[in-house]
């Protein structure tokens, strides 16, 4: 009861709410406007309700303030399995990084390697299907449980044979590490078929060309891929796909890869590929549209309206077949996809491909429209002028070599054992010009 004497309580402001707050905080709670106060109460109630429903009923009352637990399947996955990601490695897990953009083997080892024979270059075990022959393995291959795979190891550095063997085994592990060239020239060479002199000329020719234009170079022994070829008893002509794949791995940032078989000789070091044929405006007019894939009159033809900038694969034809001695691939999804699909084991062991890799490629282009739409067939004389025994007079011949062409391709020379002879004649020609 108030008796005229103020008590301490009378000096306190009259409280609006049921509970008393300290004076310092009270100014924040005082809402002058009663309407606003109601609104605030409703809002707080709604938020609370929303929190409760979303927390316990898994349904958000107000979807904008969604506190429900996230939708995820993380309780089903295993962390260690998620973290498991394989390294991007080539055929071998241990790799050697090199700074030199010209990667080629020591050609001078060719006679030694031939002397060593495959038995000494690879681990081997008898073929279960054919006891007379051996199956070869890489060292990195899956663990050898039964100790069947034997390797003759001699570690004598003074012996030139061991040096050759070591360099043969290390060569495949080289990966370029530096400022990437845009174009890489790729070649596979065979020490079993050719003499040292011939191989030297081929490799020197490639080195000169790559050096003159600032390209990368990637040369491998075809024999390095014997274990892969042997798996399905594939012909050596399939090795170019493996060499190419290894080249893309060795130069991951290069854009174009040009495979040029050892049966070709570059005649003009001054021709630069980019302005010569790779730029879309240059490529566009020379693309052969509406041309049979299987020459001369196959039913499936290249598309009429392919844009040059969409082209990922460039190849030429001879009069009767597609010429896989020289082709250019763009390093992207389509290019690599095509290359890996082309080298699929099921194609390699398919018995109905008489021309091996060329048949497989013609098959792929005829059956897969997406791949065909990324492919350009161009006249043979651009990147694969064929050598002809008789001199060619017709300047409109788009297939055979005429002086002044970029290169000469003596396709099929191995059948007649004339590779060395033909190459020699062209080699002399270039050297006479220099003099």
């Amino acid at each position: 009861m108030h008796l005229g004497v103020p008590t301490k309580d009378n000096f306190r402001p009259k409280s609006n709410s049921g509970f008393n707050l300290p004076m310092g905080l009270r100014k924040y709670t005082r809402v002058r406007n009663w309407k606003r106060r109601h609104f605030a109460a409703v809002a707080v109630f709604l938020l609370l309700l929303n929190a409760i429903t979303s927390k316990f009923l898994d349904v958000a009352f107000l979807p904008i303030f969604n506190f429900s637990k996230p939708h995820s399947f993380s309780h089903l996955t295993r962390k260690e399995a998620l973290a498991k990601k394989q390294d991007n490695h080539g055929l071998f897990k241990k790799e050697i990084k090199v700074k030199d953009r010209l990667i080629y083997p020591s050609v001078e080892h060719a006679p030694l390697l031939r002397e060593l024979t495959l038995n000494n270059l690879f681990k081997s075990k008898p073929d279960p299907t054919d006891m007379e022959s051996l199956l070869y393995f890489y060292e990195d291959d899956i663990e050898d449980k039964n100790n069947e795979i034997k390797e003759k190891t001699v570690d004598d550095e003074s012996n030139p044979l061991n040096v050759a063997k070591k360099s043969f085994k290390q060569h495949g592990r080289k990966v370029f590490n530096g400022k990437s060239p845009e174009i890489v020239l790729v070649t596979g060479i065979d020490f079993e078929n050719f003499e040292l002199g011939h191989l030297t000329k081929v490799v020197q020719n490639r080195v000169d060309y790559a050096q003159a234009n600032g390209y990368g170079l990637y040369v491998r022994w075809i024999q390095e891929f014997i274990p892969l070829l042997q798996e399905y008893k594939s012909d050596k002509s399939w090795a170019k796909l493996f060499v190419m794949r290894a080249a893309i791995h060795a130069f991951p940032n290069a854009k174009y890869f040009w495979y040029l078989d050892e049966s070709a000789f570059i005649m003009r070091n001054d021709i630069e590929l980019k302005s010569y044929m790779l730029d879309p405006e240059v490529l566009d007019p020379i693309m052969l549209r509406d041309t049979s894939i299987v020459p001369p009159s196959g039913a499936i033809k290249t598309y009429k309206h392919v844009k040059a900038e969409n082209v990922k694969f460039i190849i030429t034809q001879t009069r009767t077949t597609i010429n896989t001695d020289s082709f250019i691939l763009v390093n992207d999804v389509y290019g690599r996809g095509l290359l890996e699909f082309w080298s699929d084991p099921l194609f390699r062991k398919y018995p109905n491909f008489p021309e091996k890799d060329a048949s497989a490629l013609m098959h792929i282009l005829q059956w897969h429209p997406v791949l065909l739409s990324k492919t350009a067939i161009i006249p043979g004389r651009t990147i694969a002028s064929l050598h002809s025994g008789t001199p060619v007079d017709d300047p409109n011949d788009l297939v055979h070599y005429i002086d002044g062409d970029l290169l000469v391709n003596f396709k099929g020379c191995a059948e007649h054992h004339t590779c060395e002879l033909v190459l020699d004649s062209y080699w002399k020609k270039t050297h006479e010009e220099k003099k």
Binding site: T53, L57, D58, V59, F61, L62, P63, I64, P70, H71, S72, F73, S74, L76, T77, R78, E80, A81, L82, K84, K85, Q86, N88, H89, G90, L91, R245, I248, H249, D332, V333, Y334, R336, G337, E340, F341, D344, P345, L346, F347, K349, Y350, N352, F353, A360, H363, I364, W367, H368, P369, V370, L371
Partner: protein
């Protein structure tokens, strides 16, 4: 800027006489000009001419609102319902980036050779309704593809190889869609509230397995040359006890997918393998995965229960392994193989009822 003023106070007289009487004193010349509306509310422009500047004046909107109060409230309610809820009979707006198309394969193996019975119709109806509801809820597109046996897929050629063709065709049909979710008919989405974006697409590369090392029913080689797993995941699949399961999988529109769909079926591979490839494109994909690094590097695996849980009865050789079988709150159930000796209709009804039981109707949800 006197034109932007709040509408002037209007002279308001109750029981005023005729129009001419009302305006007689001050501005007779403006009688024809409708300064004031007949409903005694201020006209929106207060008798002024329309001007673009009005649009920047808040009072213009205030007067708009006062004039069209009911319409405005109705529109705002509709907008709120449309954006924040999934109420029926309201067009819904979605602010979502990846557009998803759900491809539901109906009528598998059907056609003239095999007529559908009442139960099969019922199964189909339940399955379609379920996906329709799910798609509607999240703003996805549902497309139902007829898988009746067609002559061009007939025996010795490419029987049952429609999957790649259908995905290709659907990609052409919905050129803006990014993700495509293939679902077999005998699947049921148990948790329809789960959005694919949050469940899969966000941070996808880190929630899928990029290696088969930890779960490898096919004994595929684990470490293969030339595989670069830094590439993005373009296809999400699950493995069951017998290998890849294509009953429910997702593909992303990309160059890679275009290539994959193109090479999936190849006559030379098919000729050599069609006697061995019992599960058609599934086996073909496994073979491609095994031998071709470019395909391997963009496939991400998820555990089977993520989008493809099995009911008891499927995968009978691994019946004791819980990682394949449905637990409550798993996303999707796939009654794989129920047409071979199991009761599709019974299973479908069971899981339909279970889904309903797991998601009781909330009191404040007047619809659905």
């Amino acid at each position: 800027m006197d034109t932007l003023d709040v509408p002037r106070q209007r002279p308001f007289r109750l029981g005023g006489g005729s129009k001419s009487e009302l305006y007689a004193e001050n501005d007779l010349e403006n009688v024809g000009d409708e300064k004031y509306s007949r409903v005694l509310k201020p006209s929106v422009l207060g008798g002024r001419r329309y001007s673009v500047l009005q649009l920047f004046n808040p009072s213009f909107y205030v007067s708009l609102f006062t004039r069209y109060k009911k319409t405005a409230i109705a529109l705002i309610t509709l907008l709120v319902l449309s954006v924040f809820t999934d109420a029926p009979f309201v067009p819904h707006i979605f602010f979502r980036n990846p557009q998803v198309v759900i491809i539901l394969a109906a009528n598998e193996g059907g056609g003239v050779q095999k007529w559908k019975g009442a139960q099969e119709w019922s199964v189909e109806r339940s399955s379609i309704n379920n996906k329709k509801q799910y798609a509607q809820k999240h703003g996805y597109t549902l497309t139902i593809k007829d898988m009746t046996v067609k002559r061009r897929y007939s025996h010795e050629w490419r029987e049952g190889w429609e999957k790649a063709d259908i995905i290709k065709q659907t990609m052409r049909q919905y050129p803006k869609a990014e993700w495509f979710w293939w679902l077999d008919l005998h699947t049921f989405i148990m948790e329809t509230q789960i959005p694919l974006e949050e469940y899969f697409f966000e941070n996808l590369d880190n929630k899928t397995y990029r290696s088969v090392e930890y779960f490898n029913p096919l004994q595929l080689p684990v470490d293969v040359p030339y595989v670069d797993v830094t590439k993005p995941v373009e296809m999400i699949i699950a493995q069951d006890c017998g290998g890849f399961n294509l009953g429910s999988f997702l593909v992303h529109r990309s160059e890679w997918t275009e290539m994959l769909l193109d090479v999936w079926w190849d006559p030379a591979l098919y000729e050599q393998m069609h006697m061995i490839w019992e599960h058609k494109e599934q086996d073909a994909l496994e073979t491609l995965f095994k031998t071709q690094p470019w395909i391997r590097e963009r496939i991400g695996f998820v555990p089977l229960r993520t989008m493809n849980a099995f009911p008891p009865g499927a995968c009978s050789e691994r019946a004791d392994d819980p990682q394949f079988f449905y637990h409550n709150r798993d996303f999707v159930i796939n009654m794989a193989g129920c047409e071979w000796g199991r009761d599709c209709w019974g299973e479908m009804e069971h899981y339909k009822a279970l889904s309903k039981a797991l998601h009781p109707k909330k009191w404040y949800k007047l619809w659905l």
